[in-house]
Symmetry: C2
Subunit: 491 residues, 2 copies
């Protein structure tokens, strides 16, 4: 167990908070609810960004940048949208400070009041659709496929590093289409991109589904989502893709001339994932020793630790390491040689375990003699001695195995934690004991959904895509239901 | 001349504004002073980012992310710093909106007033140094070499796309060191990185120098800068690197235990370049036909335009183009095949000239017969027919030539526009007629500098590094001077 890291079984929440700090991922800043993402944490986020960015470009999207500020009146143009975001907005009201007359520092200059307040963007639909109005005239301007990497602010009262912060980093895609069908296909395509990213890169299995009306994005006609399961049995929404219908096109009067030269409102989508994914990544795989990173997103995939007495031995090891290193780098594998001379190997082992480096290579005096290395994998903690000759092939294969193994482990856990229940009693009991997703019949009403949430803290995470149709009765009201939906307590 | 683009000789300023819009680089947003960076403009910025980011990492820096908001009291901790930035701050005072009682929309909720106002970061020294206090204890924690890519806000009254906007994108490096000497070396190293980037990637020659006290960054002991010259004879500060001394370490009480276990304040630097570089890039090379992009930063390096009658001919051309394309892509060259069927070749030629694509390949019926292509370069507008066989080598060489040529052209212009003068009369005359840098003796006083600025609008751009020592007298006061400094009107 890493020094000072609580056990998951004892206090999962404390384990998470401490892990984020001790592994140098992030910390709370002096500004309420805002975090500092530390270099090691940011390096993981950069890998996520690069991977996603390539996937967005491969599906035809371009990046652009829109203003941080949204005029207050813009937010109001789409009724549901303002209703959803008004209560958690950072509002800029002035544009200047001045020296306090009593010499106590600076104060807001009352003469520098803005005519119209500006909202720090909680999401950018309004400012982007007001821009699209000028960019779209003809069907030849469509589809318009744009993404933005940005910071956004939602004034959350209770915050947790990565999972819920007042400011967070994200990407938001905003697309415009000529037809309803095309916009829905785009919404689904991007959900697919997110699901692929979560499963193949993060190693986190996800359920693809649709949100109920209560949980829908403010301003959307339909919200698609991917839902992941954490090790404590709580669900985490890992990404959303919204079919906006013509809501924002109508609010901002965005029309195009179709092939018959008739004006039509365009159809929209928006989709986003955020630094919240960091929380999902950490909670899905890590253990009481620290982080477990999937090789695909680990900033350092292999760490090499020398075990030596005296400089001469270190030099001999360093010489062999430099060969290994070159071979690994040729295969695109990132390597760190930890030759810090003030720390013992045991400390280094624990340190890199805490940081989740997938593969550790150790080389000592006996290895020098035998032309071997000891290789340990972070996920299973298995270690073995290998010949030096084809160490890069061994490591390459190991990284693949680890990526696969952590996904499969998470998948098994997830599948074991989808429980079908047919009564409200059973529903509550599963939630309280086993946790995970609970698959149950529901009468389709917002009232029942609210009641269940109030009584159990569980929400409907989604109606899974390609859901099996099955006759049944709502576990609460006994009214007829045609399909089960997935409930869970969630982050 | 591109349709509707003013000539540089007639109205340079209008030419710039129109070019930025017509080439799809950026536009003004609905939010005062904030711009929208359009996909094509953003693609150039992304190339700048990627290049610089690699240079920062190669010199040992890591990326991190710090909060958007700065508590008002933090800004005040360094006296010069608050003095420099207080007058142009966006201030967040509330965290919630509510429905207006008269139903007219949303209003600021007076019950949601922040206890302490938050400033939208104009730069991040204060929030970062308050964090460094916890990160730095020992000499082993140093140097701390961190960079952040972020948006910042400075409430400018008169704004211009890319050159001066209320919100802009930038990177800001913030480093901490054990000794004064090491911090100064870092400041100089990063200036070097900026100069190399400007010259080798942007193709913009720069003067490296030091700012006078008047022009120094608020909170720095010394500000280093690179200064470029635009085609209208005005200078543009393209990057700055600040030696902060112990100012911020003292303001935020950041100390380390040295090897004798004695507590010392650390030494700091900060350095940044912004989307302003886009303005420099545009103004340094472009002409009355549109943008001229250096191949190193062009999102599309080669455009291929087919000249055909009927689909059969287009298919034959497309077949050959796909071979060329593959060969170019193998060399890492980005290619666009413009097969839009509703536009004439002449329109496409003008369009890609406007967008500054370095190399244009045209292929028509005769080329099909002769196995040739016509290749035109954007910078000199020369074109010639080349055999199809080794077209990728031809293009590769051409891209190198263009990169070199636009740098040399800008260098010649710059060198021809450094004028030594020995009287104030001559100084004013050169400024009014020829423009450019004026090299003159100055008595070293802030008053004289201010007077010259008031009377001529010229500022001291820098005291060049490795400046020749030369006895002389100040052109205004006649007082003794030991070196010339560079004046210019500037953006």
């Amino acid at each position: 167990m890493a020094k000072g890291l609580p056990k998951r079984s004892e206090d999962y929440s404390a384990w998470y908070n401490e892990l984020v700090k001790k592994a140098d991922l992030a910390e709370n800043s002096a500004v309420r609810g805002c975090m500092v993402i530390k270099p090691y944490g940011f390096a993981i986020w950069e890998k996520m960004q690069q991977t996603l960015d390539k996937m967005f470009k491969d599906t035809g999207h371009s990046n652009a940048y829109f203003p941080l500020f949204i005029p207050k009146s813009y937010l109001s143009k789409e009724a549901d949208h303002v209703e959803g975001f008004a209560k958690e907005c950072a509002v800029v009201t002035h544009y200047r400070l001045k020296n306090a007359e009593d010499g106590s520092g600076v104060v807001v200059d009352p003469d520098a009041k803005l005519e119209e307040e500006l909202i720090v963007r909680p999401t950018s639909e309004t400012v982007i659709w007001s821009t699209y109005k000028n960019w779209i005239q003809s069907h030849r301007d469509l589809p318009l496929l744009i993404n933005q990497w940005a910071n956004v602010v939602r004034w959350e009262m209770r915050t947790r590093l990565f999972l819920r912060t007042a400011e967070f980093l994200w990407q938001e895609g905003h697309t415009a289409h000529a037809t309803r069908g095309e916009a829905i296909r785009e919404t689904e395509t991007m959900l697919d991109v997110y699901a692929t990213f979560a499963e193949e890169f993060m190693g986190v299995p996800v359920v693809r589904g649709i949100k109920t009306e209560n949980e829908r994005f403010a301003g959307a006609e339909e919200t698609y989502c991917i839902e992941a399961l954490m090790q404590d049995g709580k669900a985490l929404q890992a990404g959303t893709s919204h079919f906006l219908g013509q809501n924002f096109a109508k609010a901002f009067d965005v029309k195009y001339a179709d092939q018959n030269n008739e004006l039509q409102h365009v159809w929209g989508t928006s989709w986003g994932v955020s630094t919240r994914l960091m929380g999902a990544l950490i909670m899905a795989h890590s253990d009481d020793e620290g982080l477990v990173l999937p090789p695909q997103l680990a900033p350092i995939q292999v760490v090499i630790v020398p075990i030596y007495k005296g400089e001469e031995q270190l030099n001999m090891i360093a010489e062999k390491v430099s060969v290994i290193r070159k071979e690994l780098m040729k295969k695109g594998i990132s390597v760190k040689f930890d030759d810090r001379d003030t720390l013992r190997p045991g400390f280094k082992f624990a340190d890199w375990e805490l940081k989740g480096v997938p593969v550790r290579i150790a080389m000592g005096a006996r290895d020098l003699e035998n032309n071997t290395v000891e290789i340990a994998r972070r996920d299973t903690k298995e270690k073995a001695t290998y010949p030096l000759d084809n160490v890069s092939e061994t490591v390459e294969q190991l990284l693949k195995d680890i990526q696969e193994n952590i996904f499969n482990k998470a998948l098994t856990y997830r599948d074991e934690h989808i429980t079908k229940v047919d009564s409200y009693e059973e529903f509550k009991q599963v939630l309280d004991t086993k946790g995970g997703f609970v698959s149950a019949h529901w009468d389709g009403s917002g009232e029942t959904e609210e009641r269940i949430k109030d009584e159990t803290k569980a929400t409907i995470r989604c109606i899974p895509l390609n859901n099996e149709q099955e006759e049944g009765t709502c576990i609460v009201t006994g009214k007829p239901s045609k399909q089960r939906v997935l409930f869970a307590k969630a982050y």
